[in-house]
């Protein structure tokens, strides 16, 4: 009995593909968060390609992703990209502390209650969601490794290309 339950658990773990809570083409859930200067609302960004990144001060790879996101915002902001970093620290003070050492040149919204990551069904930290100008989800990505940069940038370019 016991060896079988262990085998089943392992099989389930290995076989299960990551399940996106949001399907490609689904409408991206709305959010209205307190930002560094005023509110940050998804509704207000209609018509732009929005890259939503869920981050926290305690997440190692998040620190790696910030310089890249700053670079992306600078490069594609004029072409219609808006990066929104949704912070999920339970204590927003920790996030503000993080931002003093790693400034963000993109919009930041604070969600200490975690309602936004929950509605997006994210599976890991960090997670990012690319939303088209029509408000529909284009892709959902978990984690941030060196190898991810090129792939994510090309996805952003495609989304912006589709706009024109």
């Amino acid at each position: 009995m016991k060896p079988i339950s262990i085998a089943m658990l392992l099989a389930a773990a290995l076989g299960a593909a990551p399940a996106w809570a949001l399907e490609k083409g689904a409408a991206a859930p709305q959010f209205d968060l307190q930002g560094l200067e005023g509110a940050v609302k998804l509704a207000k960004l209609q018509g732009k390609v929005v890259y939503v990144d869920f981050w926290a001060s305690w997440c190692g790879p998040c620190r790696q992703s910030f310089p890249w996101m700053n670079e992306m915002q600078a490069k594609y902001g004029a072409k219609g990209l808006q990066i929104v970093g949704v912070n999920v620290d339970a204590n927003s003070a920790d996030a503000r502390q993080f931002l003093t050492t790693m400034p963000a040149r993109f919009a930041i919204g604070f969600d200490p209650q975690g309602a936004t990551p929950r509605s997006y069904g994210i599976k890991g930290m960090p997670s990012s969601v690319l939303i088209g100008p029509d408000g529909k989800v284009l892709l959902e990505h978990s984690g941030f490794r060196e190898a991810d940069r090129a792939e994510l940038e090309s996805k952003i370019q495609n989304a912006l290309g589709a706009v024109k």
């Binding site: 926290a56 001060s57 305690w58 339970a90 990551p117």
Partner: protein
């Protein structure tokens, strides 16, 4: 006795499905170094070495440490 130990482990395994449904964005506290079970710290190795040289019990957290003629 060995059966009892296996049951203890299986109980731990089977009970796991219902416990601990913590979401990825709620893991701030769990990310703290002192909340992990990392045993790579030098002091852990020093202590383990001293205890295996003065007591009969050994092991627990890892495998593969070599032996010594420590007296």
């Amino acid at each position: 006795m060995k059966a009892l130990l296996l049951i203890a482990l299986a109980a731990g395994l089977s009970g796991c499905a219902s416990l601990g449904n913590v979401q990825p964005w709620e893991k701030g506290t769990l990310a703290r170094t002192e909340m992990t079970f990392g045993d790579g710290h030098m002091f852990t190795r020093f202590d383990d070495h001293i205890y295996t040289s003065r007591e009969a019990s050994s092991g627990g957290a890892g495998v593969g440490g070599g032996g010594c003629g420590c007296n």
